[in-house]
């Protein structure tokens, strides 16, 4: 944090209480990309790089890196003198091992990105050279501590990685050291005194507290029992209220690396929805601005493309659009041959919403009312997440469903999965839920994946966006703004674009930490 | 009338009933035998818990006997199936002790009286209505009674309804388990009169269970005295009262004061309590309280013997009526 004068005045030490919700499954981000795991792990595991607010990589464990012009070689120069929390030195071997055994194999998101890495060379302890058979530009977008976690080879080598006991008492190189995980209560991390960045972290202790009920979270934040609460910890309405309190700040920065997008998946095999006119009609029937305002309390903005606007280089603004227009919607439906019956109903659909909280349920309710206006009767179906995943992604026994995906800095990582037909039939969650198949789109996805020329990739993605938005198998609804709430006497708590998944090494209390 | 003068309508032999409970097995009835002649009333007396109700329940097959036989005329109903029993039930009916409890409070008297007819599919609906009126008249209730519910009647009237219901199927035998115990003296007289009248006109046999000796004496032709599940003495009402042979019968008669009896009990009476049915004494069951008990009594159960024709007693040392004390006791009143 460049030259913050206040930082010098800021007290060192203190305990920061943080909300963690829900309770993580594991604390090691190797196989589990769930949000709570990452929130904790970001503080324990440093990545090769970290990301700015504009998603440019900046040095972390890698001091420098070079990409060969043909994109087939990437070299990382590692920081020296870094130690694992157990005192063992960190070296290139750890990176190589992690790439080969985790990034390339079991990491749920990165497999395709590292697929073309054919060889990893470690000429010395602080140099790692990736050799690729084809270019894979998005690699540089996932190299933070949770995107490409580096695990201590000496603790993992030769073990069953999925069941390694260190998964739940992680050993990393980050600014905070794992102390204790009391299930159902808290995860405790302590300051890493040997951290490579001198003088950091400031805080002595991070205490991630598990508070399942939203009202209780709000109360805890309000009382100051909790000083940092990322990831929409309280209902929007409460956020509004808390933001007015002088003691608290509500901040939507720090989620740039995620770029979450709320979308509507149409089952294109449905007897009504297979008609693109119907899908377009529905798109016209939804007032996304009102949705953002009423249901999401302004913590969202209408999306116009499957690639969120935060991915500036890839986001295409010249795409077919579906402005809110009930008349147009009705016309399209009439045209498609679905006339209103005596009760004014054209047909009935079932809607499944992502069971991750009331916001999604209310979105469903909003859609129900919106579609009712154009003569589509909607039955909302609620279920838990296991059932939702099975219904949408495995059984494909649904009409239209609402969900969200993180886009991440490169469409290759988070966007194309929703459209690539290669995922069909695999039953993989958060992939192509609509059942969309388009040869051109598939080809574009594949080409962009191995394209070494950034400009060409952009062109490919532009065409891709144009196709999928025209076909609307999946309708982008809103770009969501997640928010964090934190105490006004904290500084350095949001410092980078992947902050929520990164460490709090810059966080510090400006006044005496609250006695508690 | 003696039981041997005609074929009995009911004949019970060697009847035993055991109840299995958490605390152990209760031999509530042990080897009980007797006959009931047509038109006869057999009284059963004994202390609480001696098995009177068990006997009644076993005879109408509310309880399954563990040994012995029950014959209704020629028919053995000891192990009759439910279906066969239904037919048999037309011949043997029972009046329960508590008239308030045995009449469904939700039903009208008419419905209650028609129920047995409906169960056995006798007559049409209209026929039944006639029969009900008939029955009500028989037991001395006005026909309007049919439209009311049991709680609107007094205890005595309710017992009349109970009796009417038992008579609906025109049974040959009616078992009456303490039918007047819950009633006041003045009402009791009404019911006893009703029963005698009914027996005279209908010729039914009664098995009358009671604990009030004067009532049993009044109503019965023959009387059986029970003690701890056994019949200890059985005989003609008069011979039993005049010449009680079993010490228990004698004690029972002594202990029951009557307004026409002596002002003070004849003897010291029995001491001690009835033994627990879970833990029956060996030998003669009465020996723990018997003033004449000997070693023999303590070890060997007495067989039933016939003192005079029809007068049976189960005692090693029955009082044959020679002793002055017993005759003296009755002497004063005669």
């Amino acid at each position: 944090s460049a030259g913050n004068a206040a930082a010098q005045e800021a007290r060192k030490g203190g305990t920061l209480s943080i909300i963690l919700q829900p309770e993580p499954v594991t604390l090691t981000p190797s196989t589990n990309m769930a949000q709570p795991t990452q929130v904790v792990a970001g503080n324990i595991f440093d990545g090769l790089v970290a990301y700015d607010f504009d998603l440019k990589p900046k040095p972390a464990l890698a001091e420098r890196w070079e990409v060969a012009p043909d994109g087939l070689t990437i070299t990382f120069h590692l920081r020296s003198g870094v130690k694992w929390h157990d005192g063992k030195p960190f070296s290139a071997a750890d990176v190589k091992w992690s790439l080969e055994n985790i990034w390339k194999t079991i990491h749920p998101r990165n497999k395709s990105l590292f697929e073309n890495v054919t060889q990893v060379d470690t000429p010395d302890d602080s140099t790692v050279i990736l050799r690729l058979s084809k270019p894979s530009l998005p690699i540089l977008s996932v190299l933070n501590g949770v995107g490409a976690p580096i695990l201590p080879k000496h603790l993992y080598e030769g073990t069953d990685i999925l069941n390694n006991p260190y998964n739940n008492k992680p050993v990393g190189t980050g600014p905070f050291v794992f102390k204790e995980w009391k299930r159902g209560e808290y995860v405790e991390l302590a300051r890493n005194p040997d951290y490579w960045e001198a003088g950091k972290p400031y805080l002595d202790r991070l205490l991630f507290r598990i508070i399942p009920d939203a009202a209780a979270r709000a109360a805890a934040i309000e009382k100051g029992e909790i000083q940092y609460a990322p990831y929409n910890p309280v209902p929007f309405r409460d956020a509004e209220r808390l933001s007015k309190l002088p003691r608290l700040k509500v901040d939507t920065r720090g989620y740039e690396w995620l770029s979450p997008l709320l979308y509507l998946d149409f089952n294109v095999e449905n007897q009504y929805l297979k008609d693109v006119r119907v899908r377009r009609a529905i798109a016209h029937a939804i007032d996304r601005a009102a949705l953002a305002k009423i249901v999401w309390f302004g913590y969202a903005k209408p999306a116009i493309s499957p690639v969120p606007s935060s991915l500036v280089t890839f986001h295409n603004t010249k795409l077919p659009q579906y402005p809110f227009d009930v008349k147009k919607a009705e016309a399209l439906l009439d045209e498609a041959g679905f006339k209103r019956d005596a009760n004014g109903v054209r047909f009935t659909l079932t809607h499944d919403f992502l069971p991750y909280g009331d916001d999604y349920r209310r979105t469903g309710e909003f859609l129900k009312q919106a579609l009712k206006r154009v003569g589509i009767e909607v039955t909302i179906r609620s279920q838990d997440s296991a059932a939702f995943i099975k219904r949408v992604y495995v059984d494909r026994d649904f009409d239209f469903a609402i969900s969200y995906n993180n886009a991440f800095p490169d469409p290759q990582i988070g966007v194309v999965r929703a459209f690539w037909s290669g995922w069909l039939g695999t039953g993989t969650p958060w992939t192509n839920g609509s059942g969309y198949r388009n040869a051109r789109a598939d080809a574009l996805i594949q080409e962009a994946g191995v394209e070494g020329d950034p400009a060409k990739r952009i062109a490919e993605f532009n065409e891709f966006q144009d196709i999928v938005l025209g076909d609307v198998p999946s309708l982008p609804l809103l770009e969501l703004n997640f928010f964090s709430v934190y105490s006004a006497d904290l500084q350095g708590i949001v410092e980078q674009g992947d902050q929520v998944y990164s460490s709090l090494k810059n966080a510090r209390f400006v006044d005496a930490p609250k006695a508690n | 009338m003696r039981s041997d003068t005609a074929t009995p309508v009911l004949s019970v032999s060697g009847l035993s009933v055991d109840y299995g409970t958490a605390r152990g097995v209760v031999h509530a009835l042990d080897d009980v035998s007797f006959d009931l002649a047509p038109g006869e009333t057999l009284g059963i007396v004994g202390e609480s818990g001696c098995g009177k109700s068990t006997l009644a329940r076993a005879i109408v097959r509310l309880t399954d006997p563990s040994a012995g036989t029950i014959r209704l005329g020629e028919k053995d109903i000891t192990h009759a199936s439910r279906r066969d029993l239904r037919a048999a039930r037309r011949d043997i009916q029972m009046v329960l002790q508590d008239p308030a409890a045995s009449l469904d409070p939700r039903w009208t008297v008419g419905e209650l009286l028609a129920e047995p007819l409906a169960i056995h599919r006798i007559g049409s609906r209209a026929d039944r209505r006639g029969r009900v009126a008939d029955l009500l008249r028989k037991v001395g209730l006005p026909p309007e009674a049919a439209g009311r519910r049991p709680h609107e009647f007094s205890g005595g009237q309710r017992q009349r309804i109970g009796i009417a219901r038992a008579l609906a199927l025109e049974p040959k035998i009616v078992v009456l388990d303490e039918p007047v115990s819950a009633l006041d003296v003045s009402v009791q007289a009404q019911i006893l009169n009703l029963l005698t009248d009914l027996q005279r006109t209908l010729g039914v046999s009664f098995l009358f269970i009671g604990h009030d000796l004067s009532v049993v004496e009044y109503i019965s032709d023959r009387v059986a005295v029970m003690y701890l599940g056994r019949i200890v003495e059985l005989g003609d009402r008069d011979s039993l009262w005049r010449r009680p042979a079993h010490p228990y019968t004698r004690a029972l008669l002594d202990a029951a004061p009557r307004i026409d009896g002596p002002a003070a009990p004849a003897g010291p009476g029995l001491t001690g309590d009835t033994p627990s049915p879970y833990d029956l004494p060996p030998g003669c069951r009465f020996h723990t309280r018997c003033p004449n008990a000997t070693d023999l009594c303590r070890h060997e159960a007495p067989a039933t013997r016939e003192l005079s024709p029809g007068h049976l007693v189960a005692c090693h040392f029955p009082d044959t009526g020679a002793e002055p004390s017993s005759s003296a006791r009755f002497g004063s009143g005669i």
Binding site: Q369 | R89, R90, D104, E115, E152, L194
Partner: protein, 293 residues
Amino acid sequence: MARTDTASLPPTRTDFRDRAVGRLLRRPSALVGLILLAGILAMAAFADVAFPGDPLDMAGSPLLRPGDAAEFPLGTDMMGRDLASGIFHGARVSLLIGGVAALVSLVIGIGIGALSGYYGGRVDRALMRVTELFQTIPPFLFTLALVAILQPSIATITTAIGITSWSGLARLVRAEVLRLRNSELAQASIILGASDARIIFLHILPNALAPVIVSASILVATAILTESSLSFLGLGDPNVVSWGGMVGAGRETIRTDPHVAAIPGVAIVIAVLALNLLGDGLNDVLNGKGERR
């Protein structure tokens, strides 16, 4: 021939049932319960008249407080839905859930209790084991599991509540049937030659009804509460308005706009209260406590 009883019958008193109702009405608490319940029933019955249209419609601006706008006397919720309309229409659903769930558990409970009590022995032991089983599994957890498995909808919620709440009733009915089976009432019928079915359905069950009716009122109340708890945990049916669902939906704004959850919450409290008061009153009246002093 017996002489006719010279005394005429005592004057006819009113019917047992009439008297029970009369006595019920004279109990202040039961009367209050009855009036409240009648009010709720009336709300349910006239929901369509008082508030035509879909209660789920986003009719106004969100989060109006009671009194903010004349057309929304109780205000609106987060989605701008009319709370008053929700309360009226929700009365229907909540009573339906309560009623049907109670019915389900009545059918199971009475069935098991009656068979167990009447036949005794092995049947009894087997059925009571099953009942015990259902008693040992924490009922709410069980309901939760069922709803999660069957996926929340008004039908599954109702069924799940019914399936998990009959065990107490079964025991109660069993005890009653056992008592009545050994009572002179049933024995008199056996002696008359009545069939088991006749005895159970005509004599035993009608007489065991009093405590059953009382528990039924409590069951309805409990079902309404359970539904609200399920909604609180996010397992409600979003297609219909129920009070529980409204409370569940209002909990997000419990700090900022407490009326959204409080109004349906009060409705639940009143309904549960009414049913309990009525149950208490019925209990006193049907079990003759009012007569015996």
